[in-house]
Subunit: 427 residues, 2 copies
Amino acid sequence: MKILFKNANILDVEKGELFLGNVVVSNDIISYVGCALPKENFDEIIDCNQNILMPGFVDAHCHSPMTILRGVGDDTSLSTWLYDNIIPLENKLTPQDIYWGEKLAVLEYLANGITTVEECYFDNDQIIKALSQSGLRARVGFGPSTRKENKDLNKFLSQQLGLFTNVDNTLIKPCVYVHSIYSSTYDDIEKCVDFSAKNNLPMSIHLCETLEEVGNCTVQNGGLTPPQYLESLGFFDRNSLCYHCVHMDKDDLQILADYNASICTCPSSNIKLASGIAPVYAMQNKSINITIGTDGVASNNSLDMFKEMFLVATLSKVSICDASVIKAKDVLKMATKNGAKALGFDSGEIAVGKKADIILVDIHKPHMYPHDNLISHLVYSAKSSDVMLTMCNGEILYRDGKYINEDTQLIYKKVNEIRERLKNEYK
Amino acid sequence: MKILFKNANILDVEKGELFLGNVVVSNDIISYVGCALPKENFDEIIDCNQNILMPGFVDAHCHSPMTILRGVGDDTSLSTWLYDNIIPLENKLTPQDIYWGEKLAVLEYLANGITTVEECYFDNDQIIKALSQSGLRARVGFGPSTRKENKDLNKFLSQQLGLFTNVDNTLIKPCVYVHSIYSSTYDDIEKCVDFSAKNNLPMSIHLCETLEEVGNCTVQNGGLTPPQYLESLGFFDRNSLCYHCVHMDKDDLQILADYNASICTCPSSNIKLASGIAPVYAMQNKSINITIGTDGVASNNSLDMFKEMFLVATLSKVSICDASVIKAKDVLKMATKNGAKALGFDSGEIAVGKKADIILVDIHKPHMYPHDNLISHLVYSAKSSDVMLTMCNGEILYRDGKYINEDTQLIYKKVNEIRERLKNEYK
């Protein structure tokens, strides 16, 4: 299968620039990028009409099936939201519910130009099933769960890893996911680190999301901050990705920098749950690989990387009183190339040899005019509804508002039924 | 002309609730709201398919023609942005440029469900011309300009008021707009207050937008904060609307409360320009009429009240570390009814006798499922692209992605040409 995208404004995420040109996708790979128009035979020629052709977004932190819980416990305090609303309902979710929740998330990902996700939830068999049907690229985490007792953690970890045996691992790969230091014992985290080392797996964790977490850790662990505590466990010896990192001082950030850990910032979740504003400018100064995630929709409440990009830039500016920091081109790289790097995928760039994860963004809408500074418009004015086409691994999955593989009406019906049932069960 | 909207999820902004029902619009007025289906003859029956029927948004602070300058000087400090980028280009704008900039803004307003705006710029003849063609409702400000010398201010004010003589004043009305205390002399503000009193006009001003403004005012005026300074001038004796109000303490807010002044918060502009986060929770506690504005797109960078609503709620939560404050239903009222009240229009509600400023919001999109807490979804998950229909004063102006009165291609061509010319002139 050979597809030509011609006459496109192609985003070079490394330079933060656009240039008019053409791109060829051969099967799952980008095989040509350039100004000259290739004169081969193509299965399809797509005239991009000068719209923006860019790498698909990498959503580096999500709990996708939480789409089922969209709007649950909104506008309540963090503890009321979590303990009185989210956890009681999560405990009633069946594996089938997880499957349909993941399917609903897939609809949002595709419509919003997200081609790769880092997935952290439970019932991974269902998640992998839905993701495999979707055509999306994903890294799926497993580890000690907040939800279920895993009496024999080593056995559970091996069993979970087995779920990936028959899966195309260029598209779906595992990582070891420790939910957090506050929901896992020292012993369990140690077991996860050992398991990761033996199986050469990367690790992920929620880290320094709230002040409460930082305070409790420091009190309970002889003055060690969460990053210091994890360092003592050898956590960072593995390739690691830390979600949130809202409350880190420069010494904490230095630890992550020293170990080449990546950070995933989730601004909409952090401000909606009143957790705080992450020190993205300080992270950038430490040359840490910064990625962007949506977090689950129960806390943010949509899977929209355009919203997150706007927030990463603008919250950084306001939090240090300087409108010049964290520029549009910086966040475009965070949302694409940096994410692919953190998750270990050979994508995130429109470049020859990379996996063909590509989206087309409409510039012929009022909010994208005048056409003078489209890099700025992508971050500060574009909306996820401007995505015209989403391709993952060379396959077009969404185009002109239509899903190629998904039955939207069935998914809508199922998630409404599940939510109704949960409400009735919880009464 | 009689139109029936049937089978709609109707927003009651006062209660913050939705109910299934039907709405009749007779000419420019809402003549029926209820659960029973009226059995009259209608010119058109619109089946809303349970989508959300709600009042159009009131954008209570904008400099619309600045659409021409979208993305200019982005990611630079506030002073570089303003003095090295915006003002030099503004000085080169011709009246024709203002007209086309306003037309581009109109396209965004209509597509994004904004039916009413407060307009503050210059060349009001052009602005009124474009607004009159648009069918939108607006309050247009005039006063001492930052741009041009008005040697005889009283003459200028009278001349400006004359522009409204032949305009339908149920749709377009004047107010006296003092840009700010830092760009106007004491004498000029006094003249404006006098003129407003004589002509029974409301007043608007940028107030406490930056710490620099507050500091300079206090130093230059014997310790008076900006609200205290304005109070000494009798500014608040008039019906007034204050934009931004980012840096106000409780005594400042008390002054505004005592005089029943309204506030327009503009969160995206405030965080993108690194001005700060407005104390919306404190404003609410003083029972001040809080409205929401986009500000001009040169600083935010799109005219999108969904983005602003999300930010008003979530920035309030994070700034006082409490996820329970400023609820979805609060911001829906700010963005509609409160705005109409501040601007003095008899709209902003789906209620019998009100002006028919109505929008229809699609709930059959992935990010609006499950359908359990649609009030939350409207604020935390909906996007401006979910607007299916925009009606102002009983007239449908935008529907299913199509503009009824506007020639988009001509507007796009003009604004691109203007921006190119400005770039060449500024080189």
